[in-house]
């Protein structure tokens, strides 16, 4: 059996005030909220565990406030887990918790191992810069200096996203779907092993959504990427991912094969989500 590339073990992330002495056990009986009824501490994530295998597209499903973005923040080093750890096979053979990495190692991992695509391209892109410039900027951050080689590679990545002819176009002037594809090209700039997609097609027109999904799928297959896909859209999940976890109020309420989650959801919350899907 394959070894997981990413392992999350008992991840918790708490915000706000100090927790109860017992670690807010009162929350264990309150599956519908992330706020401790006794002390008021907010547990954005609580004891979340999952494995992601090399080359798979792994789904994380849940509504707003379920903890999806908190999870991405931990994977991207923007938040420190309150408890638990993430292990990545490309760092110390997956034997050391990622949050033990030094600032320099974190920068290196973010630049080389990980590509992140946000729902809103404005979070990642410099809108006044050209599409190519946005891709090259990531290469510069990773320490590359040969402008000719960087331009050629940036062109390759944009071409993969069917934007080869928009290399020198100012990002602000591109359509929403194109900006999203520039963002994917930028995330791929340094050939990461892992791609984190945070609601990559939410808010796009249906035809643009279909095109973006197709390109994500294509690039994932061609580059052998491992993808973590955060979405609330079961249609997107079914087309791209084979396994997923369902998050609610910071906790995993169900996990399994996507076909099973959709055909035979067990948890009341998953049943609600699936039956509410269009």
């Amino acid at each position: 059996m394959a070894t997981p590339l990413i392992r999350a073990e008992g991840l918790s992330l708490r915000h706000g005030r100090a927790p109860c002495a017992d670690g807010c056990r009162a929350l264990d009986d309150r599956a519908d909220t992330a706020v401790c009824p006794r002390c008021g501490a907010v547990w954005a994530l609580r004891d979340v565990s999952f494995d992601v295998y090399p080359g798979e597209i792994f789904g994380i499903v849940g509504e707003s406030g379920a903890g999806k973005t908190s999870l991405i923040d931990i994977l991207d080093f923007r938040a420190e887990p309150t408890a638990g750890a993430v292990y990545y096979g490309g760092w110390h053979d997956g034997q050391r918790p990622l949050h033990e990495a030094s600032d320099e190692e974190r920068r290196d991992l973010r630049n080389h191992a990980l590509g992140l695509v946000y729902q809103n391209p404005r979070r990642a892109l410099m809108m006044g810069m050209s599409a190519g410039g946005n891709v090259i900027e990531r290469m510069l951050a990773a320490g590359e200096r040969h402008i000719g080689q960087m331009r050629a590679r940036a062109h390759g990545h944009l071409d993969h996203m069917e934007l080869g002819d928009r290399m020198d176009v100012v990002t602000e002037t591109l359509s929403a779907g194109m900006r999203q594809r520039v963002q994917i090209a930028r995330a791929l700039a340094n050939r990461p092993q892992v791609l984190l997609l945070d609601e990559p097609t939410t808010g796009l027109d249906l035809s643009v959504q279909a095109r973006t999904l197709d390109l994500i799928r294509k690039v994932q297959r061609e580059l052998g990427l491992t993808v973590i896909l955060v979405t609330h859209d079961w249609g997107v999940l079914r087309l791209l991912a084979r396994r997923a976890i369902v998050l609610k109020a910071g906790r995993v309420v169900e996990s399994g094969m996507v076909a099973q989650l959709m055909e035979d959801p067990q948890a009341p919350y998953t049943q609600l989500l699936v039956s509410s899907a269009l």
């Binding site: 394959a2 197709d214 094969m257 099973q260 035979d264 948890a267 009341p268 049943q271 609600l272």
Partner: protein, 244 residues
């Protein structure tokens, strides 16, 4: 009987609908049967009897409430599908066990031929393309459709394409749900011929069928499901008559 490829033991499935006050629906109750290697088993019964639930529970798309499913690999090892880690189950469903659902779900905006090529278990593109084109022909899908998106196909074409996608993987065990439903007589004949050829090549098959002629042409054995239970099981005398 030949060596079994699949053993179903007392399989039961009860759905609990939490949104309807934890209403319980007993969809499958104590179903047991064995599929021999190379055998073609027809699952028949009225609409709503539990036929699709049965095959989906075998595949673990539905989690069994009780009972087990044992799959025997070519090398003799036996695997409990209901206890297999999901990642291993998926690997098996992508290779040895092929499932053809009633409806086609594929990524939009990818040409039919490319989808078939991607489904091949190997990465030899020219070989996969030749295999895909051969399947297109066997399924009598117009050659011009290779470059089209499956969303633009007719209902019957989608159904045949769906079968083709699974056959690209050359599964040892094929599980199909209503492969001939809603097909005109000529197209139905194409699908039956293809499945007969697969059977001749040794593929073991479980097929949910409403179509009596398909049962008689293809099946070695038939199990009848009624109200979630195995109501009858018998051998089928095969006919060679073409479907009218």
């Amino acid at each position: 009987m030949t060596q079994p490829i699949l053993q179903i033991d007392n399989l039961s499935k009860t759905f609990v609908l939490h949104l309807l006050g934890a209403k319980r629906i007993e969809a499958l109750k104590d179903v047991s049967f064995t599929l021999g290697a190379g055998e073609f088993l027809a699952v028949t019964g009225r609409t709503g009897a539990g036929k699709s639930t049965l095959v989906k529970t075998v595949l673990q798309y539905h989690r069994p409430t009780d009972g087990g499913v044992v799959y025997h690999r070519a090398d003799g090892t036996a695997l409990r599908l209901d206890q297999l880690p999901v990642i291993e189950l998926i690997a098996l469903l992508d290779s040895e066990i092929g499932y053809v659902a009633q409806h086609l779900h594929v990524v939009p905006r990818v040409a039919a031929l490319d989808l078939m090529i991607e489904a091949a278990p190997h990465h030899d593109r020219p070989r996969a393309e030749a295999e895909a084109r051969a399947l297109f022909e066997a399924l009598r899908l117009p050659e011009s459709h290779a470059a089209l998106y499956p969303a633009t196909f007719s209902g019957g074409e989608k159904q045949r394409f769906n079968l083709g996608l699974t056959l690209m993987r050359r599964p040892r065990l094929l599980i199909v749900d209503e492969p001939t439903a809603a097909l005109d007589p000529e197209t139905r004949e194409i699908v039956i011929d293809l499945m007969a050829r697969l059977k001749a090549q040794g593929t073991s098959t479980i097929a949910v069928l409403h179509d009596r002629l398909a049962v008689e042409r293809l099946a070695d054995r038939e199990i009848v499901i009624a109200e979630g239970r195995l109501a009858a099981e018998h051998r089928v005398t095969q006919t060679e008559e073409p479907v009218a």
